[in-house]
Symmetry: C2
Subunit: 201 residues, 2 copies
């Protein structure tokens, strides 16, 4: 078992608690997924990741691998499934590792937790973590996949442009106005002040 930049399981679990907010079973499941992926690739291959859920899996990937949301080496494609695609960023070839519903049946503590079969207060976090660590790779399916060429595209390092509506800078490939002003993103806030505080200073 490899813990990335952490010296031991305990150190990893401690950092998961600090970063994610708690020693979540999903974060420990993810430790085994990342280890399965590391065994597939030679050490000199640069591995990127697509995470299929915005859950603890994403946080463990960020802690253990060089891939984060902010450096674009981790991408989220939210299918809601506990799965990740680990691939060679040069060739796009890799593996998809997913929690197996068939295999879960063999590990009752993990199954009760993941499928929420019994109330949370009747579950023992330690028993769940212990069973995850005993099961390891046995909990997962792995298939060989090739990532879509679109995913492998490196974004051009073009200078940002100014949005004629909001005046802020944005990537020119987003179009003639920024995505916020174009209404292309989810609506997420309303202003409570008529003018910018900064502009008023």
């Amino acid at each position: 078992m490899n813990y990335g930049r952490f010296a031991s399981y305990e150190e990893f679990l401690n950092e998961l608690t600090l970063f994610h907010g708690k020693p979540a079973p999903g974060g420990v499941l993810a430790l085994h997924m990342v280890n399965m992926a590391w065994e597939v690739f030679p050490k000199d291959v640069l591995m990127d990741v697509i995470c299929e859920t915005r859950k603890c899996l994403a946080d463990t990937i960020q802690l253990l691998t060089p891939c984060t949301v902010g450096n674009h080496w981790l991408k989220i494609v939210d299918t809601g499934r506990f799965a990740g695609v680990f691939y060679d960023k040069q060739t796009g070839e890799g593996v998809r590792i997913s929690l197996s519903m068939e295999r879960l049946k063999l590990w009752p503590r993990v199954e009760e937790w993941y499928l929420k079969l019994i109330p949370k207060h009747e579950q023992s976090l330690q028993a769940i973590l212990d069973e995850i660590n005993e099961a390891g790779a046995d909990l997962f399916d792995m298939v060989e996949v090739t990532v879509e060429p679109e995913v492998l595209k490196v974004r051009p390092k073009t200078p940002p442009v100014f949005c004629p509506i909001c005046g802020e800078a944005y990537p020119p490939d987003h179009g003639p106005i920024c995505r916020g002003c174009a209404g292309l993103t989810d609506s997420y806030y309303r202003s409570r002040t008529p003018a910018a505080v900064g502009a008023e200073r």
Copy 2:
């Protein structure tokens, strides 16, 4: 200046380098944004964040605050702008802090870097970081905002259901089949093997 769970600027910068891959100027810009937000909220308020870019800003928020992509307290709404909305998760009231294009003109090293005005090899990382730390809050606009009620909704803790197509578990509010099988997410991989490796074992 506050560095969250890090003891000093140097310790923060070291962790940013480990986590994000390099001591990116955007990550240090974000340090000042987070500090501006911390000054707005009383210590006992639980602050959630919406980040408007998938860049270094997102990584600094994850390092300095309890909010991560995996615990859902950090959300990404990718308008492509260097901005973040920091809000009280109970009331939805907060501030939007954004890099000001007007103020950027007063800080030439930061402007050259952010707007890519001169080639990267002619820029000095240390000079950019020094100017960011000298400018601090002066580089930003801040407006009071209220986050949309939709954003504040707490996801129900319902048990996952099995997708009749792929057999994997997913959140029931996603619909009768998972988003991956429904084609609701971006296409991101093709299988290279007919059956799951796990199933063949």
